[in-house]
Amino acid sequence: MRITEHPILDFLRGEEVSFFFDGQELIGFEGETIAAALHAAGVRVLGHSQTMHRPRGLFCAIGNCSSCLMVVDGEPNVRICVEKLKSGMRVETQHGKGCLR
């Protein structure tokens, strides 16, 4: 799901890095957001709503709407659409409101 050729843009991607999503190893590029890396890997469901367990994913992708909150390296409520991917990051589905450390 990554664009390789584009009529207007050239995509300068950083180094390829691996990270973990719910224990599964995935590949992404350093410098892109976690949301982008997950999306490229085909992951569109980022969690479920608390009461009715409805699937949730990205909406605004720019940090305004809080639809994409996940647990990153143990920290809950991270807006993964603005958080940049780093090598070895552990990204996990958040259940409920998340525990503050």
Binding site: I3, V45, R56, C60
Partner: protein
């Protein structure tokens, strides 16, 4: 604590233009930008811009963004703090922000709020399914990260954003099933619509979405036709198999800081939401606080740049800079704004701004 002459909150086209205009007159400027790079929405725009040469017509949005950023980088009087989010504007004039995990205090003499606007939502069953994105989100995925949002898209909204993002989807190799627009006419520029139609993509006016469906993410949508009273016409339902639904149904100015700073606000539909009362020099009812760009009323990038320039000049002039040239620069910016808004496309904005000048509004 950081002392600064002019604080600009938001590093998009309005903020960057304001910074250069103010710094060129001699003021010291600090821009706060929550993203890791300035440029705002310009960085995602691959199409050529309209307007005249003064607003860089013919250049692509991201090229204009790069140019504005370079102008700021060249100017030693402009500082830019990226990954820094403004948190509040207080009664005593202090502004707080969060940057790199630290709580920051800034003491500015003048403030320009240029925080832009955010996407509106519309209500329909299952509008919370993964695969339903704001149009800006699709642009971010495609044009910043080179990632395709899905295989087949239903675009809701035929304003400029809906038309432009549909075209960008096609450029990225994604199929656009169609664009639906609830109103009876296409709201965006008709040349954008023409590009879409001649590529074989349908544009259906007087149509709306009745629901989205899918198990864990979008698998399809039901649309129907509306009558002249905007009511669904029975029997006109169509089932579209799409895996992405893109909402381009308008933007709302991001005015939380203005509310908090105690600016007098007014709901103006023509400007797309709640906006600050302000005079023609873009100063609000809180003296020393200016607004520029979409936060002052949702419009186009070309007017955002000119408003930014105007606010920057006015803020610097009020500090005593540019006594000889400021009035001329103000006049030029005001004339450019009039020119941009003179045609039929600008009438809505003109009407909206007039409402801000009513009794109870800031005097012009």
């Amino acid at each position: 604590m950081k002392e600064i002459e002019i604080l600009i909150i938001g590093g998009g086209p309005a903020g960057l233009s304001a910074a250069t205009a103010a710094a060129d007159l001699g003021a010291n400027v600090l821009i706060l930008e929550r993203d890791d790079k300035p440029g705002g929405q310009l960085v995602k725009q691959t199409h050529k811009f309209f307007g005249s040469k003064k607003q860089y017509a013919g250049d692509r949005g991201y090229q204009i963004g790069n140019f504005l950023i370079e102008e700021c980088e060249k100017n030693p009087k402009i500082e830019v703090w990226t990954e820094t989010t403004a948190l509040g504007i207080y009664e005593d004039g202090m502004v707080t922000a969060e940057g790199q995990g630290k709580h920051l205090k800034i003491n500015p003499e003048k403030i320009i709020v240029a925080t832009g606007a955010s996407e509106k939502m519309i209500a329909f069953p299952n509008n919370d399914l993964p695969g339903i994105y704001g149009a800006g989100a699709v642009q971010t995925l495609m044009n910043l990260y080179g990632i395709v949002p899905g295989k087949r898209v239903l675009m809701i909204g035929a304003g400029n954003i809906g038309l432009i993002v549909s075209y960008q989807l096609m450029q990225a190799g994604v199929e656009v099933a169609g664009i639906i627009e609830a109103s009876p006419t296409i709201g965006g520029y008709l040349v954008h619509a023409a590009k879409i139609r001649r590529a074989g993509v349908p544009i259906l006016t007087s149509h709306t979405i009745t629901k989205a469906y899918g198990q864990e993410s979008v698998e399809g949508a039901m649309i129907c036709k509306l009558d002249e009273k905007w009511q669904p016409i029975p029997g006109t339902e169509q089932d579209l198999k799409v895996d992405v639904i893109c909402l381009a149904v308008g933007l709302s100015p991001l005015t939380e800081l203005c509310f908090q700073a105690d600016c007098h606000m007014k709901y103006v539909p023509e400007l797309s939401g709640h906006v600050s009362l302000r005079n023609k020099y873009l100063e609000t009812t809180r003296l020393g606080l200016y607004v520029a760009g979409d936060v002052s009323g949702v419009e186009e990038a070309s007017s955002a740049m000119v408003e930014g320039r105007l606010a920057g000049v006015c803020a610097a002039y009020s500090l005593g800079y540019g006594n000889d040239v400021a009035p001329k620069l103000q006049g030029e910016a005001l004339a450019e704004l009039s020119e941009l808004r003179a045609g039929p496309a600008g009438q809505k904005t003109v009407k909206g701004i007039m409402k801000l000048m009513d009794k109870g509004g800031a005097a012009c």
